[in-house]
């Protein structure tokens, strides 16, 4: 996997953990340009959008993560929770 891409993904996680969700989204969009076929990227995007209460974008992101990896349990759990909530 491209190391720039991995760095960006890690940076997005750092921003999420620092509760800087908008910054995390910016970084994830950059990462998306390098690799748009990775479920984890969409999962992280979903987490950031959900934390910002942007339900629609969070739903889309978790769905995208699941379309790339239908067994992605955490993405499925978040998706289920958003749909029920």
């Amino acid at each position: 996997m491209n190391s720039d891409y991995t760095d960006l993904l890690e940076l997005s996680e750092f921003y999420i953990l620092s509760q800087k969700y908008e910054e995390a989204i910016k970084i994830l969009k950059k990462a998306q340009k390098l690799n748009n076929r990775e479920p984890k990227l969409y999962y992280n995007l979903g987490i950031a959008y959900e934390a910002l209460n942007d339900r629609d974008k969070a739903l889309n992101s978790f769905r995208q993560a699941l379309s790339l990896d239908p067994k992605f349990k955490a993405a499925q759990e978040h998706l289920d929770r958003l749909i029920k909530g």
Binding site: I16, Y21, N44, E50, A51
Partner: protein
């Protein structure tokens, strides 16, 4: 204890009668239809089959002793107007009437209805409002003047402490609670979050991106924050 009379036991009337009973109020429910009365019998304090347009019947039931009457007569606009008039003439303090259209509402006003409601319209407007502004989750009415609003923290508030924001001085609202998604790293290294609630936050508490604020204040002040 306040006493209510609900006249007309359609969907709206029976819901109100049930809700008031659940709040431990005494409720007299009435309708012309035996079937509708039977449905609510045993739930409310008293349920009777009567023609509410008959003045003598209303007098016999001691209607004037009730604090509030809710008139929710189905499609028959004439009956609804007639009953409203009779209730006011008999001295019921507060008469609340469900209106079907603007003309009906105008007439009700003229015959003395104290409050006119359009349940479908009001529900529709509330829904439209919540759909149009997704950042608003909930509004709880405390009185005609005060309410509680749940709102996603406006961007302007983020990364500032409550004492820096001075919401009480600037907007006249108090922050009752902050709902926050607390991020953490899971065993597999991926991020996730837990929902936490900070009750009665202090001046040193900082507002972070994605926080949901529970605000208490006057509607006019809460509206100002919604528009930020």
């Amino acid at each position: 204890m306040r006493q209510f009379v609900v006249i007309g036991l359609g969907r709206f009337g029976s819901s109100i009668a049930r809700a008031l009973t659940e709040k431990n109020f005494e409720v007299l429910a009435m309708d012309r239809s035996e079937e509708k009365v039977k449905e609510i019998e045993g739930i409310v304090s008293q349920a009777v089959v009567v023609d509410a347009t008959d003045e003598r019947t209303l007098k016999e039931l001691g209607i004037k002793e009730f604090d509030t009457a809710i008139v929710s007569i189905g499609e028959n606009i004439e009956d609804s107007i007639m009953v409203t008039l009779l209730l006011k003439e008999l001295g019921v303090k507060q008469v609340i009437v469900k209106a079907h259209n603007e003309l009906h509402a105008k007439i009700l006003q003229k015959v003395g209805a104290d409050r006119i409601v359009f349940p479908e319209k009001e529900m529709g407007e509330k829904l439209a409002e919540s759909l149009a502004s997704p950042k608003i989750f909930d509004y709880i009415e405390l009185s005609t003047e005060y309410g509680i609003l749940e709102i996603v923290a406006p961007k302007k508030f983020c990364d500032k402490t409550l004492s820096e924001l001075k919401l009480r001085e600037k907007f006249g609202v108090s922050v009752m609670a902050i709902k926050r998604k607390m991020p953490y790293t899971k065993a597999d290294g991926s991020p996730d979050f837990k929902e936490e609630i900070i009750i009665g936050p202090g001046g040193v508490d900082e507002i972070l991106q994605g926080d949901v604020l529970v605000l208490l204040g006057k509607y006019k002040d809460l509206n100002k924050i919604e528009k930020l």
